[in-house]
């Protein structure tokens, strides 16, 4: 399948490889990962701790911590333009203007000794020098009101806000330059459920209003069902299954995806026994050969231990990287290479 670089995609990642190198070991954080986010679409990037979700987000932002982190290969196209070879100066212009990132802990983005209106103003001024001081402040206040914070609280400091309110400030900051893409890394994980519902609702409304594309990084399939158009399931640094929301939720195919669903308590039948995935996430500095999931897979065969699986497509964008289907396919299901 050929993907045109001038296509209608806000973000395309192709075969991205990222490693963290320390004196003792090499951590293979992202291993040949590819994904696409269409304009105005939200992609859910789902996986457990250590799957490489955040590293993928940081790579798009050009914020992989150096010198330990090394991008070894692949391409990241933002609006069709490769950002991996941009200079630091060029990246500074791209961050905020083209792509913004929202982190789990709002305090990692907020300066504790600066009023929130000044912080938002700073973000606006960094990308638009033509505005006067009062215009910038006016715009900062508009952003605050948009996320549901009264403008007269603008002169307050981060510690005067609750967790949910701080995350709203961060969202206001991320949206202040109307970026084409927002990478939200577990934006509501630290919040209570009722506040989470408020913040997710707000993000959805704003995304629709600005027609922003979004990558929603989360471990919570419930949040994916609520906010995303398509889903990529990540395991040990690469995508094991991808499809539209309906593909993945109605017909999960990869044993890992099925395992994630099986691990969740069911609200319709509370006595149903949980079906956890056996074993643990592999050590990223010592990944299994072949398919990285085989040591935890109930269906693992000899081929899984030696050979990396290739994607098998099930019509549309739904694909799965699993040997089980590479073979089964020839008999049971028909292959439909991305029609």
């Amino acid at each position: 399948m050929v993907i045109g670089s001038q296509s209608n995609n806000t973000l395309e990642i192709r075969d991205l490889v990222v490693e963290y190198r320390t004196r003792e070991r090499v951590v293979h954080a992202v291993n040949s990962l590819s994904l696409t986010v269409g304009r105005g679409q939200t992609l859910g990037l789902v996986g457990e701790t250590g799957a490489g979700k955040t590293t993928t987000g940081l790579a798009v932002m050009g914020l992989i911590p150096k010198p330990a982190g090394v991008v070894l290969g692949g391409a990241i196209l933002l609006n069709g333009e490769d950002v991996l070879h941009k200079s630091d100066r060029e990246m500074k212009q791209i961050r905020g203007k083209t792509v913004s990132m929202i982190f789990q802990d709002p305090m990692s983005s907020l300066n504790p000794v600066m009023s929130i209106e000044r912080q938002i103003s700073e973000a606006i001024r960094a990308h638009d020098r033509s505005l006067t001081r009062s215009q910038v402040l006016q715009k900062a206040h508009e952003m605050l009101e948009m996320v549901g914070i009264p403008r007269d609280r603008g002169s307050e400091y981060p510690h005067q806000f609750s967790g949910g309110m701080k995350q709203r400030v961060v969202i206001a900051m991320a949206l202040s330059c109307k970026p084409d893409l927002i990478i939200a890394d577990e934006p509501t994980t630290a919040l209570d459920v009722t506040i989470q519902a408020q913040v997710l609702g707000l993000m959805k409304d704003l995304k629709d209003q600005y027609r922003t594309s979004m990558v929603m990084i989360t471990h919570d399939l419930g949040i994916v069902a609520e906010t995303c158009d398509s889903v990529s399931v990540m395991y040990a640094g690469s995508i094991v299954e991808h499809g539209t929301l309906h593909d993945v939720f109605d017909d999960p195919l990869h044993p890992y995806t099925k395992g994630l669903f099986g691990s969740l308590p069911r609200l319709d039948d509370r006595r149903a026994k949980l079906q956890p995935i056996k074993g643990l996430m592999p050590d990223p500095s010592n990944l299994p050969t072949g398919c990285t999931f085989w040591p935890r897979c109930d269906h693992a065969k000899d081929v899984c231990r030696v050979e990396k699986p290739n994607p098998t497509y099930f019509g549309g964008e739904h694909f799965v990287n699993c040997h089980l289907f590479n073979e089964e396919i020839s008999g049971a299901r028909t292959v439909n290479m991305g029609d």
Binding site: V193, A197, G201, A225, S263
Partner: protein, 318 residues
């Protein structure tokens, strides 16, 4: 003892903390019972007093007023020596397996420590046998006995926490967010383990969590807390089928459900939980309630029976 006599009987449990700004009502007149072998789920958002309630039940902090009866004995009346004996029967599993384990002790030393402190088994070999037995029970491989917590992942560390709580053969365990720090696939492993162990040993549990789908799966009965009070209590299925308090309704509707069909309508609450300091005499949920009436700002509703085993504190249900 009759089969359904409550193991835990909590009556009017109250804990106020004095702060610079005034009296903080952490737990305010909480009453419930837990029958032997059953699990009560205590849910609520940050700051609602659920962890404080758990600590009061084990007398890790002293209540301002109220009673905790364990097998009919008021634990507040016990001397420190008697309380020490009582603690063997009441244990706790903590949320964070990273900070609740001593990093300088090996796995077997951590699990063994309660036995040594309570002088339960004096013979060293016998003691080690008990430790290994418990390690088998919680699915920790015996070869890990000489490793240190930092060498293990979160799931295994939480297994150590469970093992340590079980080693004294307790009757009652307070589980304070035992799976909140764990990944989904590991969380399911630990929940299954806890369920199996509970059944095998006939344990009584207080399961404290903010995760509603977990509490629904794990509890026989659920109590919902808001600002230090229980505002609704019912058997798990009943609570999820017929939530009656407006807060419970909103809380349940806020759970992100991992499926695409039959999604319930979401009720989005305004504002946030108010400060538990110097609370006015009014319904504590009045400031956020979508169905608030003038009466709610003037009086405080009591927890009333609204159905079989189903109680709620709301004027709408009068």
């Amino acid at each position: 003892m009759t089969e359904n006599a409550p193991l835990i009987d909590v009556r009017g449990l109250t804990k106020y903390f004095a702060t610079k700004r005034g009296l903080l009502h952490a737990v305010d007149g909480v009453s419930f019972t837990i029958s032997e072998g059953k699990t009560l789920g205590l849910v609520g958002e940050s700051g609602c007093g659920k962890s404080t309630t758990g600590r009061l039940l084990l007398r890790l902090i002293e209540p301002t007023s109220g009673q905790v009866l364990f097998h009919g004995t008021d634990i507040a009346s016990l001397s420190s020596g008697e309380m020490r004996d009582m603690r063997k029967k009441m244990q706790m599993i903590f949320q964070d397996p990273f900070s609740s384990l001593n990093p300088r002790m090996t796995v077997s030393q951590i699990i063994e420590e309660p036995l040594r402190l309570h002088r339960m088994i004096e013979d060293r070999d016998e003691r080690m046998n008990k430790v290994l037995e418990i390690m088998d029970l919680v699915g920790l491989s015996r070869r890990l006995r000489n490793t240190y917590p930092h060498e293990l992942d979160g799931g295994r560390r939480q297994r150590i926490g469970v093992a340590r709580a079980l080693v004294l053969d307790p009757e009652f365990i307070v589980c304070d967010e035992p799976v909140s720090a764990l990944d989904v696939s590991i969380r399911a492993q630990i929940l299954n383990l806890m369920g199996e162990v509970q059944e095998q040993l006939g344990l009584t549990l207080l399961f404290i969590t903010h995760d509603l789908s977990v509490v629904h799966h794990f509890s026989d009965e659920i109590a919902v807390m808001y600002l230090g009070k229980i505002i609704e209590k019912a058997p798990a299925d009943e609570l999820f089928a017929h939530p009656s308090h407006p807060y419970t309704e909103a809380l349940l509707s806020a759970i992100p459900i991992p499926r695409l069909h039959d999604r319930p309508k979401r009720i989005i609450l305004r504002g946030e939980i108010t400060s538990p300091v110097n609370l006015p005499k009014a319904c504590r949920f009045a400031t956020r309630c979508p169905k608030v009436m003038s009466r709610c700002h003037e009086e405080e509703p009591e927890l009333c029976e609204i159905g079989p085993n189903h109680q709620a504190a709301c004027f709408l249900l009068d």
